[in-house]
Symmetry: C2
Subunit: 247 residues, 2 copies
């Protein structure tokens, strides 16, 4: 009886996601695109693409990739299949001449897992409570050849889980001055010293990178942080967006 | 000379958008769907749909409408045309038997305006500094007939502008007890007394509505608040999402 009662205990958790994004210095368009979309069987996916080079051309590529992926996810297509479809579409359209990185971070309530899909040489940081991990298995961008496969990692939605996904702007920050940023290392040390919320962590990483580039980012930089916590407070779903505009 | 210099002055503003959303009491699926998508010519659109009835069927309808609209917006289709296309698609698929409300709130950096598209009897609240306004011109939901036209309102992106868009769950809150909520009235009085940020205002409205329904919302309720301010702080674009989960 006791164990079945325990088995029936409803556990409430919440996932908090934060995105922070800056453009390359003196560039009005970011080559990075980040979109979030609701999953038809429950949950949310965040899609992050970085088109080759920067400025207008790169933006068009990353938007095309992101648009393709969110349209497929919204129809219930699995993350890996959506990534492969976007790669084939890009390869077909650009004949292998233009590539784009892609990351999909999904809170999949159907499977009860977080699914990370990566076509990006830049690693993904994962921390399950105490143990930080830098998922850096080889992974190629979309559009490089036919039949590009993503690296997929699936994990339980458990309180304490923290995931950080980023574009190569974060990895290359400081490279111009010969001090490239070790993103995983920086995240680990921030988490050792502090207990930042997702937005705070994203902001700290972005500020660190921009600082390494002497306040003139050498590339577009995007950071996505996903954190699972015990639920505090109400059942309200929330989203907020801040959009700075230069008239 | 002076006037041309003034004309050249760069004005930095920021748009802050907040969404808050609760399900009908004891319903695990919300019939409301809210998505935000980047506009290909710059800016962001927030798309809010409320499918007829509640639960699974309504969710499928509002997701279908939202998916259609964000796919078209991402391709550069104008808001009004996207709304009409979604209406035709819904009418064709459901033969006029199922309807859905739709609101699109766009920050359009191409035209430098905010564009409000409405196929929803529920009004939209707009305040330009001192002057609150309740945009309530007659507007029919999507899918009711062929050639449904949205009501479109376009306005300059100027600091002090505040817009509140909501589904009928907010309007019908308290109706069960014979005390339906006058959303525009409540927003006006909150703004007279306080100077809430977008998330705070969305939360206040939701809490007020849930309270009128004795903490058991009679319908799904979604609120979108958009606020234009002078830019304070950095050039970082930010997004955050909170997703409560019942395991």
């Amino acid at each position: 009886m006791t164990s079945s009662l325990i088995g029936c205990r409803i556990e409430r958790v919440e996932v908090n996601i934060a995105v922070a994004k800056v453009n390359k210095y003196a560039s009005s368009e970011s080559g990075d695109t980040v979109e979030a979309v609701e999953r038809p069987n429950g949950g949310v996916s965040v899609v992050l693409a970085d088109g080759q080079t920067s400025g207008r051309g790169a933006k068009a590529v990353s938007m095309m990739v992101t648009r393709k992926v969110i349209a497929l996810l919204a129809e219930g297509v699995r993350d890996g299949a959506a990534a492969r479809a976007a790669s084939d579409a890009l390869f077909t359209e650009k004949k292998g001449q233009v590539i784009s990185t892609l990351n999909i971070a999904s809170v999949d309530l159907h499977s009860g897992t977080i699914v990370l899909t990566r076509n990006n040489p830049a690693p993904v940081f994962v921390s399950r409570g105490e143990k930080p991990d830098c998922l850096g298995a080889e992974s190629v961008p979309l559009g490089t050849s036919r039949d590009v496969r993503p690296v997929i990692t699936e994990m339980e939605i458990v309180p304490g889980l923290m995931i950080v996904v980023y574009t190569d702007g974060l990895v290359h920050a400081g490279a111009r001055r010969g001090q490239p940023m070790d993103a995983c290392e920086v995240i680990s040390s921030v988490l050792e010293e502090q207990d930042p919320g997702p937005q705070e962590l994203a902001d700290i990483l972005l500020a660190h990178a921009v600082n390494l580039d002497s306040n003139r980012p050498a590339d577009d930089i995007s950071v996505v942080v996903m954190k699972v916590d015990h639920q505090t407070g109400d059942d309200v779903r929330r989203m907020s967006i801040r959009l700075p505009i230069v008239h």
